[in-house]
Amino acid sequence: MSDFKELAPVLDQYGRVPGSLITILQKAQDIYGYLSKETIEYIADATGIKPAKIYGVATFYAQFRQEPIGKYLIMMCKGTACHVNGADLIEEAVTEHLGIRDGETTEDGVFTLNNVACLGCCSLAPVMMVKSNEGEETYGNLTKDTVKSILDEIKGRSQEGIAV
């Protein structure tokens, strides 16, 4: 079980600053990948904010997750331009290829699929962003075929990483 020592500097900086709950949750999610019940309880103890209130905030915003995610987070854009240009078909292709739906993680822990509102790259629709420790990369003008090869390429890269 984690002793949450990674959170100490965050809580030192923001723990007593009014209105910082969202910032603290964002940093906690950056560190642990998601907000577990334990993380929420720990933050509640440290800040004096009631766990129910933290849970309320954590479930209100789309950014916060209560489940762990894979190494690569696929943010599938569901903006209007992407919708008009067939984002649903791209999502279907991902589901077909990886066997996961919106919000789910592959069994090997490599990918999590999340639908997002808009990535703001509307003229390249349909678009997705893939986020990991290596940073984030945006892919545009997707087709059912290119999205599959992009995911294969990323998966290959992740396996090389393990080999090294």
């Binding site: 910032t23 209007t80 008009v84 703001g120 003229s123």
Partner: protein, 583 residues
């Protein structure tokens, strides 16, 4: 000589970073004396990656769609776009005109300057407006200039900026806040991202001017977390501005203090509403509250607060330097100045365009946007996102300003323009937007929380072919109740996409409900793929069908087994003879 490579999010997504490192590598290998720099988005996203080459006389040659494998050829032609050279990557006259037909105020520096280098911004007149304001103008003078300009909030509501500033100024208090809404929630608008990534200093300067006008010493930029590059460039820009003394204490020796910080939003469309945004800044769930009191009286921590969006602020330095009157001279009587529109969807030349208000939809979509992709039929344009409406082809000569667009049931909103052709189903568009607002409703008002859910269920039924007589009327009744029974703009406008599609495309609703067909042939339950006489029996479709629904001998007409077909569309995609149609 220097080359500048556009690296906004869209440029990077098309491979601009790889192109840039290839240039750097080859320039190093060849020992050339050429600098490689970056800039933001010039707006012509369909031409990315864009490479601007400036010779020693500062003469520009623009190369477009440059991938790493093109770099060698371009270097060997000495970047020439003269006649007779292989100029497949040179910008065409026609594409050049896309930019020339615009009037760029907000985007004046986007695509020209390096957003991570403050001296690029100051070289083009940056931070002169704030200097003028602090040394020569009173807060009232600034507000008067804004009034003359006629600038209205570019975030959606179109409320006069000077009026809000004046209200915040007249509320007493030593502690006030200037807030920038950079949460760009409308799915389909990206002008704010472009300004944040391409010209962050113009936002910062606009906020300092606004802060001085209302008497605020602190500014907060509420930026969406989905824009990591924008946040990064803002941080760089703020650090550079602080170093130069443009942010901090005693700016330009005037005694005025102003500093800024960024708060990353956590993803909630409703936070575009001012009181919800303030709740979010205070670390709460982003739920709106009743007004009054307005934020100008009681906002962030109950202090007078003014909120404008990115595009609004980016106009401000230009207005101060060029005068409110020259801004007001553009546009129409009541909608003055220019506006940035995000052209996307089924459009040939998608990207950002900035034009004077009052230009017609036809001019924007055809003269600048180049018309519809694949030369299909223009069907409608969606303006204003989830709060807006679908404008049919018959109204394409409507001038785009707050009044005229409002009159036909849509809104200018933040400037998203999603163009649709005959393959887009209007009932499905309404369903899409209701799905969005249903998810984004904060849940405070019953009508919004439950009503949008009920509307969505009806629309889902209709698109699945299970529509019933009376559904259209029920939708209209719900729409009216939701508008009346919701406290904030989200609920009050959520039914608009449904109401405008019923108003202009009622026949499509009726087709779905009574004839069990989808007019646009896009709702899966309401059309079939059929192989026509054009089939040559090449077997490609049968081999590609993932569920083996296609039967037929070689060189014989193939047939699709409708009971097996999942309507994935693979056969239509792979057929080289246009033999597969939707019926």
């Amino acid at each position: 000589m220097k080359i500048i490579i556009g690296q906004g999010s869209c440029g990077i997504a098309t491979g601009a970073k790889k192109t840039a490192s290839e240039f750097e590598r080859q320039i190093r290998d060849r020992n050339l004396d050429i600098q490689v720099g970056i800039t933001g988005c010039v707006g012509t996203c369909y031409l990315e990656p864009i490479v601007d080459v400036y010779d020693d006389q500062n003469h520009l040659t623009r190369h477009v769609k440059v991938q790493p494998q093109d770099v060698e050829k371009i270097l060997e032609s000495h970047f020439s776009c003269a006649l007779g050279t292989d100029s497949s990557h040179c910008i065409t006259r026609e594409d050049q005109e896309v930019i020339e037909k615009q009037k760029r105020v907000v985007l004046r520096n986007c695509g020209l300057i390096d957003p991570e280098n403050i001296s690029d911004y100051t070289a083009l007149g940056g931070y002169q407006a704030i200097q003028k304001v602090l040394l020569e103008m009173t807060p009232q003078d600034v507000i008067e200039e804004m009034k003359v300009s006629g600038l209205r909030g570019r975030g959606g509501a179109g409320f006069p900026t000077w009026f809000k500033w004046n209200a915040a100024l007249s509320n007493p208090g030593s502690e006030k806040y200037m807030v920038c809404n950079a949460d760009e929630g409308d799915p389909g608008a990206f002008m704010d991202r472009s300004v944040l990534e391409g010209d962050p200093h113009s936002l910062i300067e606009g906020m300092i001017i606004g802060g001085y006008a209302i008497g605020a010493n602190q500014g907060i930029i509420y930026c969406r977390a989905e824009y990591p590059l924008a946040i990064h460039r803002l941080e760089v820009a703020m650090a550079q501005a602080r170093e130069k003394g443009y942010l901090g204490k005693n700016l330009f020796g005037s005694g005025f203090n102003f500093d800024l910080r960024i708060k990353a939003g956590a993803g909630a469309f409703v936070c575009g509403e001012e009181t919800a945004l303030i709740a979010s800044l205070e670390g709460e769930r982003g739920m709106p509250r009743l007004k009054p009191p307005f934020p100008a009286a009681k906002g962030y921590w109950q202090k007078p607060t003014n909120i404008n969006n990115v595009e609004t602020f980016a106009n401000v330095p230009w207005i101060i330097l060029n005068g409110g009157a020259s801004f007001g001279a553009m546009g129409t009587e009541q909608s003055k100045g220019t506006k940035v529109f995000a052209l996307a969807g089924k459009i040939k030349k998608g990207g950002l365009v900035e034009v004077p208000m009052g230009m017609t939809l036809r001019e924007i979509i055809y003269d600048i946007g180049g018309g519809i992709k694949n030369d299909r039929e223009f069907k409608a344009v969606q303006m204003g996102g989830p709060s807006g409406g679908c404008i049919p082809a018959s109204l394409i000569d409507t001038p785009v300003d707050y009044e005229n667009i409002g009159k036909i049931g849509a809104i200018v909103g933040s400037g998203g323009m999603i163009v649709m052709d005959e393959t887009t189903c209007m009932v499905d568009m309404a369903r899409y937007f209701l799905d969005f607002t249903r998810k984004e409703s904060c849940g405070k008002c019953n009508y919004c929380r439950i009503g949008t859910k009920r509307m969505l269920e009806i629309l889902e039924r209709i698109t699945q072919g299970k529509g019933e007589d009376g559904d259209i009327e029920l939708l209209e009744e719900l729409a009216e109740k939701i508008k009346d029974g919701s406290m904030c703009g989200l609920g009050q406008t959520a039914p608009n996409p449904v109401l405008t599609t019923i108003k202009y495309f009622r026949n499509e609703y009726e087709d779905h409900i009574y004839n069990h067909t989808c007019t646009a042939k896009s709702c899966k339950n309401l059309f079939q793929f059929v192989i026509t006489e054009k089939c040559t029996g090449c077997t490609v479709c049968a081999r590609n069908c993932p569920v083996n629904a296609i039967q037929g001998e070689r060189k014989q007409l193939h047939v699709i087994d409708q009971d097996v077909c999942t309507k994935c569309g693979k056969c239509e995609e792979v057929c080289r003879f246009d033999a597969i149609i939707r019926k």
